[in-house]
């Protein structure tokens, strides 16, 4: 049975077009904006007769993408793999860290200053050090990617746990929740909307982090390809690589949204939306 307010809410949803029209528009609108950007780009290059090594026209970039499709695909795969692994490490490390910091208040004073300090150092500055210490392999890239992405997850977890009211904690304790029960029944569900939002942010940051690491020390990946293309003054290939990076970022964002939705399906989409937008 539905209550009046639920009915009112779903009617409001219908009015503002979350139905079939909304779904098809959500596909059409991004395509329209992509086409508009392409047209402006094309127009500017043609109108001002800009040389190819400064700004290649969109159709030559697309042609270059097609020509170098296997290289771009392979490099994208290499970048994607590091980014996914780094993101997974971030979740595995950042979320529990948030729970621990939220649970043991004094730890906050101990751990937060170094965490914030690391956060404020540009990772580009750290990347050469990790390469010097760990070599050209996956390790320095994974560390950079994890460093770039864990902070929003940790912070979101802390905020989520701190949103729990005193009476909720008291209720949980009088029911008999202890340690893992508390995390399972109260902490995780309370923090989930915040963590899900941070996870989407972290997913796009993961691509950026991996790219930064590849700039500094890598024999593969889109970052490396971008570096080579720039070195060869192949602006067209550089643009092609940049477009692939952008596409990879979008795939990561979309994928993260799907994963977050799947992992929290039991909590109800209305609740997940109620805390963040």
């Amino acid at each position: 049975m539905r209550t009046e307010s639920q009915q009112a809410a779903s009617e409001a949803g219908r009015q503002f077009g979350s139905g079939a029209i909304g779904t098809s528009m959500s596909l059409v609108l991004p395509m329209v904006s992509a086409i508009v950007v392409g047209l402006i780009w094309f127009g500017v290059v043609a109108l001002f007769d800009i040389p190819k090594y400064i700004l290649p026209s969109p159709e030559t970039v697309v042609a270059s993408m097609f020509e170098n499709r296997s290289a771009l695909f392979n490099e994208a795969q290499a970048t994607g793999l590091i980014a996914i692994t780094g993101l997974a490490l971030s979740v595995a490390f950042g979320v529990p860290l948030g729970f621990v910091i939220a649970r043991y208040k004094p730890l906050r004073r101990v751990l937060m200053p170094p965490i914030v300090a690391i956060q404020s150092i540009p990772k580009v500055a750290l990347a050469p050090l990790f390469v010097a210490w760990l070599g050209f392999g996956a390790a320095p890239k994974l560390i950079i990617t994890t460093l770039v992405t864990f902070f929003p997850l940790t912070l979101a977890t802390i905020v989520g746990v701190e949103s729990i009211t005193v009476t909720t904690s008291q209720l949980a304790r009088s029911i008999g929740c202890r340690s893992f029960g508390l995390v399972r029944y109260i902490w995780f569900p309370s923090a989930a909307p915040y963590i899900a939002a941070a996870f989407r942010t972290a997913a796009t940051l993961a691509v950026v982090g991996t790219l930064v690491a590849e700039f500094v020390g890598s024999a593969e990946g889109l970052g490396n390809l971008l570096l080579i293309a720039s070195g060869n003054r192949d602006t067209t290939l550089a643009f092609a690589a940049i477009l692939v990076v952008a596409a990879l970022g979008m795939v990561f964002y979309g994928g993260a949204s799907l994963i977050a939705r799947g992992a929290t399906a039991r909590l109800g989409s209305e609740y997940m939306r109620s805390k963040t937008t």
């Binding site: 049975m1 539905r2 209550t3 307010s5 639920q6 009211t165 009476t167 909720t168 008291q170 209720l171 304790r173 009088s174 029911i175 008999g176 929740c177 202890r178 340690s179 893992f180 029960g181 399972r184 029944y185 109260i186 569900p189 989930a192 039991r266 909590l267 109800g268 209305e270 609740y271 109620s274």
Partner: protein
């Protein structure tokens, strides 16, 4: 996950409350400026099994503090609490607790909020579910099993909270101003319904309120607290016949008790005219 408390199936345990012994329980704390503030003077109270006791007093008199101490959720500065032959040292789990804020988990439906009790206590799922549905039916929540808290009225949320507190059929029910946030009509109805629930199996109940009428309507016994630092002003039995009806609130016996408490609090500087 650590093994939770051993819960006796509801149908095995005899439906009687637990006696409570509050022995010299006092609360004081030190402020940031280093001043020692007494919130609750040492209180001694003996509550019999199955008694419906109301703690009545102005805000900040320490009545909620005392309730949380009985639940083992607050550690007293002095004294101790015994529930039956058990001394309370940590959160006591063989009880049901209802706060002013319904404290429902937003991500769970009404039924699953109640069933949370069963999940944590590892009760038999099917039996617990049957009891939850029965409780919902008897508290007029039938049909709202799958509603989320955001879709329920204040009174309904509090009913869900009461069902959750009763699911495991605890011998003790603690209620901390449970109806204070509800409108007057809902509040009267909740009082009537609570009385009916309690008459069913006579658990020991501690009910905290600052409404004198509500106290006289519900209680077997009213413990009136002074303003801060709280101390027991009077321990007043209410021997009016049950089930009490709303109209009983107009009888001389009822009004006499309300009057008595009002005068008492007025002498303490509460309710100045």
């Amino acid at each position: 996950m650590s093994r939770q408390i051993q819960s006796v199936p509801p149908d095995v345990r005899a439906p009687v409350g637990v006696p409570i012994s509050i022995q010299g329980v006092g609360h004081s704390y030190v402020t940031n400026e280093g001043r020692r503030v007494e919130a609750l003077k040492e209180v001694d109270l003996e509550i019999a099994a199955g008694e419906f006791v109301v703690f009545l007093g102005p805000s900040g008199c320490g009545k909620s503090t005392l309730l949380l101490t009985v639940a083992g959720l607050l550690k007293p500065t002095t004294g101790r609490v015994r529930l039956g032959d058990h001394e309370v040292r940590r959160p006591y789990t063989d009880l049901g607790i209802v706060f002013q804020d319904p404290t429902l988990l937003e991500w769970r439906t009404a039924l699953r909020n109640i069933m949370m009790q069963a999940e944590v206590r590892r009760m038999d799922k099917e039996k617990a579910r049957a009891r939850a549905l029965e409780l919902m039916e008897s508290t007029k929540l039938g049909g709202f099993e799958d509603s989320y808290p955001s879709g329920l009225s204040g009174g309904m949320k509090q009913r869900v909270a009461i069902c959750r507190a009763l699911l495991h059929d605890p011998p003790l029910l603690l209620m901390d101003e449970p109806f204070a946030a509800l409108d007057a009509l809902t509040r009267d109805q909740m009082g009537i319904d609570l009385q009916a629930l309690w008459l069913n199996d006579q658990k020991t109940v501690i009910f905290v309120t600052h409404s004198i009428t509500e106290a006289v309507f519900l209680a077997d016994r009213i413990v009136v607290f002074s303003p801060r630092p709280g101390r027991v002003l009077v321990d007043l039995p209410v021997d009016l016949a049950r089930p009490r009806k709303l109209d009983d609130q107009k009888t001389p016996e009822f009004l006499d008790r309300v009057d008595k408490i009002t005068k008492l609090l007025r002498n303490e500087g509460v309710l100045q005219e």
